[in-house]
Symmetry: C2
Subunit: 193 residues, 2 copies
DNA sequence: TTAGTATTGTAATGATTACTACAAAAGTAA
DNA sequence: TTACTTTTGTAGTAATCATTACAATACTAA
């Protein structure tokens, strides 16, 4: 290995950038904001992430894709994926107020980037669709096993859940309140009883 | 009346600005964009709307409040408000692709403006809450009349519907498809049967 | 040491931002 | 006409934007 050693780990830079993007979105986050938050100068950021601000944002989305993969693995190793899914949704209510106000960076990006940046919009959209596909798979398997009694097609229920995901991430901004959210989530999860 | 006559009607300026804001959001819409779209120079826009870009955006939200009031009047004059509400939701599916991709300017604003502009966030948030309050009133009245059989508290069902409103406005971006949307809307409306 | 290499922070770049100063334009009232 | 008023488009303003040029830095390899 040659050259001056890295002072920042790429992962940490992306994580700190992601926090800013998650709160303020892409357009309202300036490179000066990112430089301050990460502690890395503009030169460093551009040397590390060749695509600049946009690449940094892409990496922030990719981190969410890894989170999705982690959840997929949890589902594969579980003997009750539906319970896992329900626990995931119910757990949202226990997050702190800041997390409620942030919502979901993927859903936020779809809203912000439509008509603004096709690439970022498409990547976020794909992430939502892949999440939906996971929901659908979980439901289909559970219907075969008889764990879910609803006769509604699995893909319809999958779309129902991704709709709910986007919806609850708006509701928690309006009502960052544990009890209200718990009640709403429990109510909506009845659909996959 | 004195002075040089207006060449643009305020209403039309707001409407054209609203179309841009609705598509691209607040931050990604520049004053130069607004000037081109409205046909009015920057000087004219600032002379007409003293608060500049932000005031123009506020007026765009106010127009949506007027739309809410119009819907409130429809409800008051209707002998079956629940049918009106269901028709409103089902009608979303029939919109064109552009409208699907735009979503709801109010819900979009809540997402974009949290942590960015408290005032605009608060105004959009209030608009969503007022919409929710209308849903709740419609449901409460229908429960009294026996039109809705669900014993779920009216305010819980109201929150359910505003969650669905935000959710469906994300789903229609992913699937700007009449049939898929019709099915999802019909499914979710079963909750207020 | 010495040469080579990659990262760092700073300072500049040119473009774009929201906004404003201002004079010309276009009307009314006397 | 003349005086007055308001709107209009243009040409600025200062600030901020994303990006880059570059020299100093800090390491490895020889």
């Amino acid at each position: 290995m040659k050259g001056r050693p890295n002072i920042h780990r790429d992962e940490e830079l992306v994580h700190k950038a992601q926090q800013l993007f998650w709160e303020r979105g892409y357009s309202a986050t300036s490179l000066s904001d990112l430089s301050k938050a990460t502690g890395a100068g503009a030169g460093s950021l551009y040397n590390t992430f060749k695509g600049g601000k946009k690449e940094l944002f892409r990496r922030s989305l990719q981190e969410r894709r890894e989170a999705l993969h982690a959840f997929e693995r949890d589902v594969e190793n579980s003997d009750n994926p539906v319970a896992l899914l329900k626990a995931f949704f119910l757990g949202i209510a226990d997050a702190d107020t800041e997390a409620h106000l942030r919502g979901c960076i993927v859903a936020n990006t779809v809203v912000e980037m439509t008509f603004v940046d096709r690439e970022l919009e498409a990547e976020a959209m794909q992430l939502l669709q892949d999440t939906e596909a996971l929901y659908t798979t979980i439901i289909r398997d559970a219907q075969k096993k008889g764990t879910i009694k609803s006769r509604q097609p699995a893909d319809v229920l999958g779309k129902y859940l991704i709709t709910f995901w986007c919806g609850i991430n708006s509701l928690r901004r309006i009502y960052p309140d544990r009890d209200i959210l718990k009640q709403q989530i429990a109510l909506q999860l009845q659909m996959i009883d």
